[in-house]
């Protein structure tokens, strides 16, 4: 009896995804380039939960952590899985910037099969609540008066944090230090402890510190104001004419997979991006829903890579490609 019930249940779950010509028959592997708790890992796990809740997949999905070299290992892992129909990966912008700076990063996003762009993550520029700077202009002119004395905490030099700094330095002529910390927690701790003066931070990360009166925002790295920070100016509104480089996240698959497989994944993620659970997740985290299909995503690669190469070269970072 139980077995029959299970079979019926299985059928009911499997049915909605049938017409595409491809249906997963065994667990799907979702590759991420961070360890448990990292940005892409958290997104992947939230995504798996949403797909389970909304019954978008007839099979289970498992997150596989392939950390190393800021995405290089995960990208290479996907490239090795050529033709594999049950593996997908979550990429971020570093998958495009890494091959520019690292010789070992032989696999670029362009060598993988694009599926969908999902998110753009805006950022905000924060200072400690008792800092003397009320606006981004205040900060930049203070940096100009004491070149190299003010400090910003952030990730690696290819990270978005540093890109924002480079752009601001270029248009203003000011100069301040950029101090790399491996963990997001350490970056915030350095700011709250008064060891650095400014940081670029994700809006939802900053939210609680602002509410507790520990942090203040100077500007947001975005084209338009976020709903939660309607009174914080964008970079342009703050008087700095720079194009905000978004943190982008999306889905790729191994190279050489059949066309109906691509269509299947495209369908799944399009459906996912329209579900209430996904919309709630995006809103809760103050991300920007930025769904793009495979063809558009491939075009996005080129624009993004070109823009990043220019910024990195201006910053004096050695590019190898």
């Amino acid at each position: 009896m139980k077995r029959v019930a299970l079979a019926v249940l299985g059928l009911a779950v499997a049915l909605p995804a049938m017409p595409q010509g491809f249906t997963p028959t065994r667990p799907v592997e979702v590759v991420v380039h961070t360890g448990p708790g990292g940005g892409s890992d958290v997104l992947a796990r939230a995504m798996v939960l949403i797909m389970e809740k909304e019954k978008l997949l007839p099979v289970r999905a498992q997150v596989a952590n392939k950390p190393g070299g800021g995405g290089v290992v995960a990208a290479a892992y996907l490239a090795e899985k050529k033709g594999e129909t049950h593996t997908i990966g979550i990429f971020t912008g570093v998958w495009l910037t890494n091959p520019l700076t690292s010789n070992e990063a032989k696999v670029s996003l362009k060598d993988l099969t694009p599926i969908a762009r999902l998110l753009l993550e805006p950022a905000v520029i924060a200072v400690k609540a008792d800092a003397p700077y009320k606006t981004l202009g205040d900060f930049v002119s203070a940096a100009k008066q004491k070149p190299g004395e003010l400090k910003q905490s952030g990730g690696s030099i290819t990270s978005r944090d540093n890109v924002v700094r480079q752009q601001l330095q270029k248009v203003s002529g000011a100069r301040w230090q950029f101090i790399s910390f491996p963990g997001g927690g350490e970056r915030i701790a350095a700011l709250l402890g008064g060891h650095v003066n400014m940081m670029v931070i994700e809006p939802n990360e900053a939210g609680e510190h602002i509410r507790a009166g520990n942090m203040r925002l100077l500007a947001q790295v975005n084209d338009k104001r976020l709903a939660a920070y309607a009174n914080v100016p964008t970079l342009k509104e703050a008087g700095f004419d720079v194009t905000p480089v978004p943190q982008v996240r999306g889905v790729v698959a191994p190279p050489g997979i059949p066309r109906e497989n691509v269509a299947y994944w495209e369908g799944v993620f399009k459906k996912m991006s329209q579900t209430e659970s996904w919309k709630k997740y995006v809103a809760d985290n103050q991300f920007e829903d930025a769904y793009q299909n495979a063809a558009d995503l491939a075009r996005f690669y080129d624009d993004f890579t070109g823009q990043m190469r220019g910024i990195l070269q201006e910053a004096g970072v050695k590019t190898v490609r």
Binding site: P36, L49, V73, F181
Partner: protein, 494 residues
Amino acid sequence: MQGFAVALQPMNLLWCFLGVVLGTVIGVMPGLGPPATIAMLLPLTFLMNPASAMIMLAGIYYGAKYGGSTTSILLNVPGESASVATCFDGYQMARKGRAGAALGIAAIASFIAGTVGVLGLMLIAPPLAKMALAFSSPEYFALMALGLAMVVLLAGRSMVKALLAMLVGLWLAGIGTDLFSQTSRFTFGQMELLSGVDFVVVAIGVFAIGEVLTNMEGREAAKALPVPKGIRNLLPTLQDLKDSRFAFANGSLVGFLIGVLPGAGSTIASFISYGLEKAVSRRPEQFGQGVVEGVAAPEAANNSETGGALVPMLTLGIPGSSTTAVLLAALVLWGFKPGPLFIPENPALFWGLVASMYIGNVMLLVLNMPLVPLFAQVLRTPTYILYPLILGISVIGVYSTSGSLFDVWLLAGFGLLGYLMRKLDYPSAPLILGLVLGGALERALRQSLMMSDGSLSILVSRPVSAVMLSLTLLILLIPLFNKFNAWRLKALDN
């Protein structure tokens, strides 16, 4: 009190029990660690209420710390990076037929320190978190330098050999992608090396595989290690407890305080408290040959670190390790907003968690003590079965962590290195120490110098780092002083 009302609900007791049992199991098995386990269980937690889920996940976190010592003591295979320091004396005790005593002391130290950690979390979390923020790169540099100075205490007969081994460890720490410039160092074009050499691979290779290779040399090796008969001889004696009482205190304090710092961690805590215990011991020469304090101190530090690590996570929303990062992500996924206002706004969850940790620590002690005699029987296995078993566990442990065959080859390489080091009488502890601290030491130094625009004075002009660096210097002078004293006594004799 409100916390116990939450934690004592039958369902929550059950979740707590499940968490600590699961934690113990993954702690005993090398490989799969708490962050991966907790991440895997996340989907399940959505069926539970958040307090129960948090209680269970935290149980896995501190339960794993209890289990981690088991394979370190019995097989010289560190289950987690935080139990490497436990190998030094724990495995030697096992070789002398005192495995039960070592395991028992480890469990008792874990219980005491785990409880001290929760006490600290309960009583002084918010002010302590503020103090931890005063700690920045120069202070971290001084802390790592202090840890590295422990090499003079871990050295065997030859200081030169110890320093050489440490330098190799520091070099190994440099392999991988440089955080600051994103360039790769010493990777020889190998993609697998971009993320650096995994510390656990080196530790298991040098300790466990090296040990097995060395022991396989002798023809007479095919006999089992001594295991005394009778339950009484399998448990720690009163004398053991007496010898360890200061180690319990030292480990609990050092572990908790280092745990509070977001940039340190339990591995560093266990090494520093081991070194400290040896530095103030009346019998430092016996450390590394199986003294019970040498097990108690690092095990205590490793367990009270858990309570400490939860301080910045719960009071500020700042994760200090990958396990706390996963726990933080879980809170966000459940709809909470971790940050400075988390505890005042969710008192039931916080106090429920704290209360459950007291209960969980008692459960772990009750659970682990009866297992001690049982585990000690493992050593009755004849070596022709035990050694292949150790090799198997080591390979599976490494492979299950990374899923990469490359790491298994690395493991073999480091096993060979461990064997050669034993043959040539190089101590392996300094190598591990260099590897553990090297990355953080370099990062902290470079961050400090960026903060000061290149001036080294930042390291000594800040009081906390100045004090720690002076301590470092003092420790470095110990061997010179000992030499002088030996010379003086000799001169007096003549």
